[in-house]
Structures are given as C-alpha cells and as structure tokens.
Amino acid sequence: MSLLEIKNLTVEYVLRKSVVHAVNNISLNVDAGKTLGLVGETGAGKTTTALSIMGLLPHPPAKVQSGEILFEGQDLLKMKEHDLENIRGNKISMIFQDPMTALNPVLTVGEQIAETFHLHGNYSRAEAEKESLKMLEMVGIRPERSTEYPHQFSGGMKQRVVIAMALACKPQLLIADEPTTALDVTIQAQVLELMNDLKVTFNTAMLLITHDLGIVAETCDDVAIIYAGQLVEYGSIEQIFDNPLHPYTIGLFGSIPSLDEDVERLKPIPGLMPDPANLPVGCKFCTRCSRAVKQCEEAEPEYLEVEPGHFVRCNRIGGTDNG
C-alpha cells in the first residue's frame, strides 16, 4: 500500500452558467520516501488535485463527484473536518502556489513560523522561537528580518517563509505547489536540498507540482503528466524522460528554451488548452495535436500500460505527424 493513493478522482466546479471539469478520473500513488512530479499546463487541474487531498477545495463551487483519496489507507474524503484538521499540518502539509494565502498579514514572519513549531512540533514558545530563526536561516533569510511583516518581503522571500512553515512540522506527506517558481536557482537549489533532506531523514513522501522539467529531472522518482484534468502519461522518471510517448509530453520537452543552442523562435505546442467547461468528446489534446486523426476526435483514447508502470493515453503512440 502506498502512503497516498488517489483513486478515480473527479472534481468539478459547478458555476452558475457552466460546469468546469477540472479533474477527471485521476489515479495516482505516492510512496513514503518518494517524490512524484505532477506536470501540466496552467488550468490542467494540478492545484485542484492538491486541494482535494488537503480537503481545502472551496465549496461551493467545487464538488468532488467521485473517487477516493486514501492516506495510510483511510479515505480523506470521508473524514470529519476535525480529524482532517489534525492530519493537515501534522502529517500532511502543503506549500501553496500563492504564498499570501498561507501568510497572515498581521503577524511577523518569525511569529508565524514559531506558531507552526509550537502547534505541531510540541515546542515551548521560547524553543519554537529559536527554531523559527534557524529555519529562516535554512531557507536563506537573515534571522534579524524575522520581526518584519509579510508585505515587507519580496515575492520569493515570502515563498521561502511559507516553505519554512511547511517544513517545520516535518510532515509525512508534503504537497508542494510550484514551491520554487519565485526563487533564483541558487536558493532553489538550497530549498530542493532541504526538501530532499526531509525525504531522506524522515522518509517524507512528496507531491511536487511544477512546470520546470529541470527540477523534475533532478528531484522526482515518478512523473505524472496531466492535461485538461486527465492523466495523459504516467511513469518513472526514466520512462518519461528517455521515452516520452504522449504528443503533449513530447511537445513540452520541445518548448523549453535550450541553454546550449540559440534559436530565433521557440516551438510551443500551438493553441491553448480547451475550455474545461466545454471539453472535446474525443482525445482532449486532439485540438492541438500534430498527430491527430479522425478517430482522435471521435472517441476518447484508452489509458494503456505500454510497459510495466508506464501509462499513456493516446491513439497514435509512436505515430508520425500528419501533414
């Protein structure tokens, strides 16, 4: 049994005029001590997936239509809010994409981190304060700035405070939603190392949401590629990087500006993700896919295990472009 098992999760946002199919029948596993990378376009449903685990989806408009989220074998979706609150912060913690949602504007950053240590780490107030200063230093912020308020910090510094808070409670599962997007690469390297230490020392499992394939290459054991709320490819890091099979995955690798070559123009995947309130019937990627044929528009491709542990949802695996 994996520490976290998501089974056939479907989440919708029910709006006045439409229903947004944000997450469609997703299944994922994360083992203790392992890192799963969740990669996908903006709006693909990554944050929605993460918030479902945390039990923090905004109701309304969000609605879990079906599925289970098993943590240590217990379904988080069926748990009482009180028990969930206990798990959140003690066993599962999340680094939010937008740091301000996790920070209290009227407390100093030092107070906020100390609070986490005090509440979740059984530290006395005085110890918690000491620990909070250590933690700040670990994420590269000078301890004397602990008396400042979040608005006095730059975006990246706020993010580091949030990271410090999430790491403070030494969770069993850490969900990190674009944790280092706002950081420069030298600090990013330090933060990733810190997260890695956590993984090694406490056998923490991690769900890492990112669009930086470089970070995925350096930190993840497995990778799930999500498109329009569906998994389109899922496998070990070697399978995804050495043998990407879904045209979307292949397109992602092709979009990255290279450090070694100079190109005039980048080659993005053309077009935009379809409106999640109005998804195509067939393959959700068919509107942008260079390999798409009629069959792709008509019926949803099956999610196939093409080699052990490597899943792909595409009709034309290994196919060529059409025109």
Binding site: E144, T186, G214, G251
Partner: protein, 319 residues
C-alpha cells in the same frame, strides 16, 4: 537605433524598523530602442524595485533616469502620469495584480479610461484589438480574472500594458508562473510585438534559459547591487563574477543523464539593511579575500562591453 533609456547610479532605499534597506544601490545602464535588457538575480535582490523605480512608480532615493533623452527623475505628478502612456509594466503576479471586481474588458480598458482620450466605442474597439493581439479569445471579455487560468490571466496583464501603445515595458517575471508551452507562446508573442512596434523591454526573471533566449544584454544583481553586465551570449560563455558562475551552474537541466559539477553557494545572504562597506557577495564567495571585507568593489569594464564588480575578477579569471 538610439538609446531610449539611461539610468545613472540609481538607488532606492526603504525605511524599515531596523534601518535603511538598500533595495537598489548605484545601478547604471542604458538600453537602445528595440532591445531587451534581462535582469536576473536572487529573489529579494531588488529586481522589481529596480523596474518600478525606473518607471517612476516609486520615487528613487538617488541617481538619475533619462527617458528618450529627457531627465525624468524629478518631473511633476502630471508629467509622471503622462509618462504612463510610454512606459508600462507587466506585473510579476497575475494572481494579485488584477482587480478581482473588474471583468477582462474593463481591466484592459482601465488604463485607457484614465487618459480620457477615447470615447466608449473606441475603447471597446481597442480592447478587442488587444485581446486579439495577445491571443485571448473575445468570448472571455466578460469573464473575471479568478475564472481564468494563469496563462490567460497573464495575457490580460500584457493586453493592459499594451493598450496605451507604450514604447517601453518592464516585464516583471511575466512567464514565471506559466508552464513551458504557454511560456514559449508568451515569449514568442513578446518578441513579435517587439519587432512590430519596436518595443524596448526590461525583462526580469530568474529563469536563466528564458533570459538567455530573450535578452540582448543581461544585468545580474545581488542584494541590491549590480555584479555583472554584458551581452547575453557573452554572459553564458564567459561568466566572470563568482555569483554568476554559481548561478549558471545551479540551473536544473531537463535531462536525467546530465552529470554536472555544481558550484554550490553556501553561506548566508548579506543583509540589505544598512549594509557595511564590503562586497555584498562576500559571505558566500569562495574567492573572498581581505579587501572584499572592507570595501565594496567598483563596477568596471573588465573586457570590452563586459562589466563586473569584483575585486578579484582578474585573478579568478586569469585576465
């Protein structure tokens, strides 16, 4: 093509409870029209503050800013407002920089309305034109920002900045929150617009492969100070400052077979509050010597068009 912007010894200090915070100190550079200056550096090193000060969205503490040959450092409020037409910004954070109570059309129209030069009909036309230009389907005109994904929200920010037909735009991490494919689309869009309209950009980012792709020159900052500036290719081929070297070697490479020696930068960040007269990088620098601890290095042209502030630059690089 002439110079469009010149900045001389620009500084911005903030008052904080623990003393004066040197967010930007003595930064100088110039940009030619139609070119892009990339600005990279650690989070908190002053990149956004630099961008905002250059645009006069915040008042500089010292130094001078020349835009199209005119000293704009101490212009009146009224002139400052007029400047908005020519100088715009695309904000770092598409989540919090857009007023959640305005729909997309109103958001894009907002800067136009402040200038009262167009009637309602014209404004509507410009709004749709901008939406087409940035690839935002017209049916989103009456959607609210929270209903859209990051890529579309960032397009609103770009459309807003373009609505007044500016000459110069500070792009403050416009693609940081986007996935690589949408990022590539936005970068292509910004490059196309630059070509069509001869736009000049300051492009702030910490993504080094992005900055290499988009910039003509790159300025590297560290705790408020500039440490290196040169043409983009030159920076990646011959980084001279110890910080730049560490920065370039820390870039995560999207290849699992890539074995790379990382120059690990350990040690603490220097504080930007009342910084002593020393190299701002001294606490993390593997090459630091005594002089680095008692004097801030000058900014020198070490090789043609390649500026570095480091006492030991010549030794380190065998120059």
């Amino acid at each position: 093509m002439g110079e469009i912007l010149r900045v001389e010894k620009l500084s911005k200090f903030f008052d904080t409870p623990s003393g004066s915070l040197h967010a930007v100190e003595n930064v100088s550079f110039s940009i030619e029209q139609g070119k892009t200056l990339g600005v990279v550096g650690e989070s908190g090193c002053g990149k956004s503050t630099l961008g905002r000060t250059v645009l006069k969205l915040i008042e500089p503490t010292g130094g001078k800013i020349f835009f199209q040959g005119k000293d704009i450092t101490n212009i009146s409020k009224k002139e400052n407002r007029a400047l908005r037409k020519d100088m715009q910004i695309i904000f770092q954070d598409p989540f919090s920089s857009l007023n959640p109570r305005l729909n997309v059309a109103d958001l894009i129209a907002d800067p136009l309305k402040t200038f009262k030069e167009h009637n309602k009909k014209e404004i509507e036309e410009i709004v749709f034109e901008m939406m087409d230009l940035v690839g935002l389907s017209r049916r989103y005109a009456y959607s609210y920002p929270h209903e859209l994904d990051g890529g579309r929200r960032q397009r609103i920010g770009i459309a807003r900045a373009l609505a007044l037909d500016p000459k110069f735009i500070v792009c403050d991490e416009p693609v940081s929150s986007l996935d690589v494919s949408i990022q590539a689309q936005i970068l292509n869009l910004l490059q196309d617009l630059q070509e069509q309209k001869r736009l000049t950009y300051i492009f702030v980012t910490h993504d080094l492969s992005v900055v290499k792709h988009i910039s003509d020159d790159i300025l590297v900052m560290y705790v408020g100070a500039m440490v290196e500036k040169c043409p983009s290719k030159e920076l990646f081929a011959h980084p001279l400052h110890p910080y730049t070297k560490g920065l370039l070697s820390a870039i995560p490479i999207p290849n699992i077979h890539h074995e790379k020696v990382k120059v690990k930068l350990q040690g603490e960040l220097s504080s930007p509050i009342e910084p002593p007269d020393e190299c701002r990088f001294v606490k993390r620098c593997p090459y630091a010597t005594d002089i680095c601890r008692c004097k801030m290095p000058d900014y020198e042209e070490v090789l043609p068009n390649h500026f570095v502030s480091c006492h030991n630059c010549k030794n380190i690089n065998n120059l």
